[in-house]
Symmetry: C5
Subunit: 354 residues, 5 copies
Amino acid sequence: MPRLMKSKSKKIGLAPGTLIHIGRKKIENATITAINYNEKKIETKELKEVKEFFKINKKDSTTWLNITGLHETSIIEDIGKAFKIHSLVLEDIMNTDQRPKFEDYDEYLFIVLKILSYDAKTNNVITEQISILLSQEYVITFQENENRIFSPIIEKLNVEKSKLRIYGTDYLAYRLLDIIIDNYFLVLEKIGERIEFFEEELINEGKQDSLKEIYKIKRENILLRKSVWPLREVISKIERTDSEIITTRSNVYLRDLHDHTIQVIDTLETYRDMTTSMIDLHLSNTSNKMNEIMKVLTIIATIFIPLTFIAGVYGMNFNNMPELHMKYGYYATWGIMIFIGGLMVYYFKKKDWI
Amino acid sequence: MPRLMKSKSKKIGLAPGTLIHIGRKKIENATITAINYNEKKIETKELKEVKEFFKINKKDSTTWLNITGLHETSIIEDIGKAFKIHSLVLEDIMNTDQRPKFEDYDEYLFIVLKILSYDAKTNNVITEQISILLSQEYVITFQENENRIFSPIIEKLNVEKSKLRIYGTDYLAYRLLDIIIDNYFLVLEKIGERIEFFEEELINEGKQDSLKEIYKIKRENILLRKSVWPLREVISKIERTDSEIITTRSNVYLRDLHDHTIQVIDTLETYRDMTTSMIDLHLSNTSNKMNEIMKVLTIIATIFIPLTFIAGVYGMNFNNMPELHMKYGYYATWGIMIFIGGLMVYYFKKKDWI
Amino acid sequence: MPRLMKSKSKKIGLAPGTLIHIGRKKIENATITAINYNEKKIETKELKEVKEFFKINKKDSTTWLNITGLHETSIIEDIGKAFKIHSLVLEDIMNTDQRPKFEDYDEYLFIVLKILSYDAKTNNVITEQISILLSQEYVITFQENENRIFSPIIEKLNVEKSKLRIYGTDYLAYRLLDIIIDNYFLVLEKIGERIEFFEEELINEGKQDSLKEIYKIKRENILLRKSVWPLREVISKIERTDSEIITTRSNVYLRDLHDHTIQVIDTLETYRDMTTSMIDLHLSNTSNKMNEIMKVLTIIATIFIPLTFIAGVYGMNFNNMPELHMKYGYYATWGIMIFIGGLMVYYFKKKDWI
Amino acid sequence: MPRLMKSKSKKIGLAPGTLIHIGRKKIENATITAINYNEKKIETKELKEVKEFFKINKKDSTTWLNITGLHETSIIEDIGKAFKIHSLVLEDIMNTDQRPKFEDYDEYLFIVLKILSYDAKTNNVITEQISILLSQEYVITFQENENRIFSPIIEKLNVEKSKLRIYGTDYLAYRLLDIIIDNYFLVLEKIGERIEFFEEELINEGKQDSLKEIYKIKRENILLRKSVWPLREVISKIERTDSEIITTRSNVYLRDLHDHTIQVIDTLETYRDMTTSMIDLHLSNTSNKMNEIMKVLTIIATIFIPLTFIAGVYGMNFNNMPELHMKYGYYATWGIMIFIGGLMVYYFKKKDWI
Amino acid sequence: MPRLMKSKSKKIGLAPGTLIHIGRKKIENATITAINYNEKKIETKELKEVKEFFKINKKDSTTWLNITGLHETSIIEDIGKAFKIHSLVLEDIMNTDQRPKFEDYDEYLFIVLKILSYDAKTNNVITEQISILLSQEYVITFQENENRIFSPIIEKLNVEKSKLRIYGTDYLAYRLLDIIIDNYFLVLEKIGERIEFFEEELINEGKQDSLKEIYKIKRENILLRKSVWPLREVISKIERTDSEIITTRSNVYLRDLHDHTIQVIDTLETYRDMTTSMIDLHLSNTSNKMNEIMKVLTIIATIFIPLTFIAGVYGMNFNNMPELHMKYGYYATWGIMIFIGGLMVYYFKKKDWI
């Protein structure tokens, strides 16, 4: 199961802005990819050093710089110097236990989000952090790991006269956010399927240990909420910002994003209510089963214990037991035992236990 | 049971505004019905193409265009071009997993709602999406399936000098909203009846598996909430909009609608509290039953186990057991056994177990 | 038990403002009582028709028109015409499933409330609707049934120079609201007594089926909340209204009313918390009882089952069983059995089970 | 246990401002104590009539009038006339079921609070009401019963040049409020000790009926909340009032009071969470005990029932039972029985039941 | 376990601003450490008296005065006089049961916070109070005990040209707050590890008494919440204050602090949800175990009780029992018994109990 918290111990007591990578190293070598484009042409290049960026970047064009792998402090530092990024921002980029947030630093906007994906093998949700820096000339994205979720955007960028090529950095950023949030729906769909599966199990009283699975889903929901709830605030802040980097043309797109975010949160809340109800159902199933077991025991014991007693009585060795010498004593005893047994069965029938 | 979420996987990575139908196809062929009316005359026509609309539409008249079936992308596209609708709106219309919402696009207003109906056979609530586009000249409604809920409005439209004929598009839209929300009450009534039925069952300790039914009602409530809660916000936004499409004459009607919406939400909340209480009652019933079963077992076992022991003792085969040779030993043993049995019965009476 | 919802099916699809009585008919014939008064004189009259009102009404006087029985559409319609009441208001008056509300229609104010009373026989709370129309000249009240709760006000009205006679319609309306809310306290008192009674039962572990009664109280609370929660909003709106019908002289009275409303809500919330705690206590009682039953069974069974086994052993019929032929074998066996029994008793004592 | 509500039945239907004492009469005769002081001198006197006040009261001095006992309507009425108090205020003073509140009547301020104290004998919290009237010249306090909580203030008043003597009525009122809220902490401390005691009991699985005690604490908390929650609003309103009776010098003191109030509420909320957790722990303890009981029963029964069966088999009286005539049949049977018993014990050991 | 509340009884009735130490004395002798620094030089000194401060303090320099140990009233009083601190502030400093808060006294700002640390031996969270006084020239900190958490800051202060040396008092205060809140993450990490440990235990159904440990974690969370929740408000107030002591340069740092605070609260809420879910899981585990125990008992009892009855029947001593004399009666009886036993086993297999 995913950990509840990432260790921050190595950071305690350091000056703010000190760069330390918090999180697991998920990729061997960090890579820098630069895409420079305008309406007419597009150029993609793997950079070895951050400096190369300035060779590529040209007038009247937009650049998207994508850094994969956050553990190489030198790269992050170089970018910080090259683009004059505040050291607290750089610190946040390297701390992968960040809460989703939006901050306006006048010259650039800073967005932190989580990329969610579903690992079908372990049935776990994988959470990765993405940081987006956005100015009027460039978009810089920082990812923990190679992630193919942006490939549709890269494809689209290569299409001439697509909106992506014509509109500026804010539209590119919107498309990145849009695809990230769309992926949330995929994850929610998978969780929803699992909920429906265990729901079915519960109603048909199938497996016995479904509670542990429901517990895992609930735990996932609790952790997802930490990634998803702040999202609404992030998108709202982007919508309301008076920064010139966000053009008015983007308003309608951001409103759409806002709607999606609320739908994600709504779905998560629905799942929470569902799992809570499922636990109630499970507990009731368990006590129903207990009831059934107890009934079987009670019926058998209650019928046979008195009969065994009667048999015991006539197994006593007293000299003077007249019944033993009666001719039909044995048959009479059987009669009495069958009558008592029948009475018990009748009683249980009346009580609806059989 | 209805699904928790509709699959959105085919949409991931597409540009915003790309038209893809999300949801199940519920009708074979999409149809377009146009009703053009003013105070004096009314004309109803099935359209084959969207273009025909412009032949029908006349000066000084209001047109209601009703599209049934959302899977034919071409129709939605044609309408988009004909009425200059934003591509994001068209996308929302085709995505039947939309959250109820209201958006003001200056030239037209866009409302998404859910039509609820109750399927008496399966005891399920059926949710369909309706989108309403509203300008000063036309009302366009998009439904998933043929639905007879608007027929009273169509009848009324045919009555000369009815308010519907005299007032403009906003009054027609209000009437559509009003009839949609009125249908919510019908659905709530049905759910209320089921709650009352299972409540009765619980109090009289009738059926054993009522919890599963309560669970289903609860599940329905959870899903309904997703359709109903955003409604309040939708109606509030319509009330507060400064769009000229909504005339001041409509204020009092919208206030009425707002009241109804709150009543729907109130009722849903009441149902939620009711079902939660019913689960408590059910759990208590179950443990009461268990108590009763245990009592029966305990009474029988506790009375007969000691007696069986006594009988066992005098069934032993020791040579030297003086009691066996006493003349009234057998009767004395019966006496002791009856006394012990009686004592037990007395004890249980005192404990109020019998 | 009271129904969760009143059927609205007959209303679906009708134009807004269509008058249809929703609710049960509680009185045979509707009656109209008019009281016309000013500082100097007072006149009370049963009206046969609404028109008669205008004969009674005089200059410089206040009139209170009380309609009992809401099923006669004609009377409501006549009043609508006579006093120029909006058709949506008339519709709301006849729909007894209305949510408490306040609306300002400039010329008159419209208040809907619930009258609560307690039926000691069935232990149910009876909810009736009252609508109050208030202008500067008249107060019109619409009740479902003959109700004696206003008789103290009528008495007071007959006292010359009482504030009621001197102050205007807003003071009369305040007094009506005050007496309605005072009756809420009576109902809460009765429910409080029942809660205290069942609390006592629970703590002394009296009755077994107290949970069902607690459930009924909880259900009542849930339904009462629908009548009571909107009240705060209603009174707040009256306080804040800038209508000239409400004089500044009334401010201090409305503040008092506001206080009472909050106290009613507070008490209801307290009851909710109480009943929730009581259910916990009940569940614990049930499992305590189960524990006790199990203990009795376990003690008896655990003591006698091993003893019965020993008796069984010496009841075997093997030829070669030396113990049987020992002189004191029988007594030794008794010794062993008593020792084992004693050991068990000692064990249970140590475990605090006895 | 304290009652949930005080009976208000005798008040229904009376005009607002009618004086009726609601609550239990806690003292035989009401007393009036007047303390008149300024920087230089102080005079304390028991008054027989309210009128005497005006003899005592002098220019340039502050008077504190303390009325103990609220059942004598005449005294309250006299004070009402003497100080021109609104009749609704007088009504509130006599109704000891009042919610804590603050009201500004321009010439005077009106504060209602609860004095809490802890009765160590019955482990109950005793709630008494105190009303404070505050103008620029006098402070009038109305208590239900003789209460020594103000004696430190009276002592301090007798100290020359103490702040109390120098500052005006608002500082005296602040000190009264401060000492009242300080007493809340005492009560919370006692409840906290009881919670800790029963927590200890629960963790060490001491007493069995701790749930009833937790229930009582929870009930107390629920009732206390009614006294404490409105306090925050009361103090906030006093802080924000623009009445000239509250001098700016008092701001810092009121802020301190506000802090204390929030701390009281925080503690109460903590207690609520604690008791809820304790109930969970208790329920788990109960089912653990049940598990243990069941284990003992199961172990004993499961070991001996098969053995008893074997003994029973060889107690049968068939003519043709070869085993009975074998030489070592009896010993072999013992062998088998010990083997089976040992197997069972091994099984339970493996299951960790022993 | 930590106490719920510190005793305040000795404070009741005292004038506001009276200095009394509330809390346990944690250090023998209070110490005063002064650090005076500016860009160029730094001087650290242990003071014997507060007066010495003024000898050390120089123009154009910042002083940090750290007092350890709050029980010596004289020191606090001396500081109060020397720096003209309001007596209510001094009172708050000495009361270690203070709620975290921020107050602006124009000439200085007053911040109260909790320092959290984790005692690995007892698995308890230790809470200590720290008060910070902040003016443009000095920072005064009051701690309960010697605490090494500020040592990284002291080290950094000794580094020439570090931001700490260059920026003023507000930056020093920010760094103090930052390190305090960083320590919260350490504590949360430890609690998170314990939650994960017991989660693992629960899922693998390891220990039996894990609930008590979860209870302790929950209790810790409840108490932590009292320290952590007010933090958000404290930081917000510092961010929004218009005091000149906080320079605009600090805004970005305070925003960072605000983010951290929200993350702490988020994590605490996550833990709360986790523990609640874990209790559900535990309860289900317990009833699953019970079910298993009951199954074993039921299987054994249900198989052998009927067989014992049959054996009992043929152990009866009736003269006339034909079966006893049949040649293969004994074998037939075994046959019947094995058949019945087999039937039972088959039944339990079908029910999935074996």
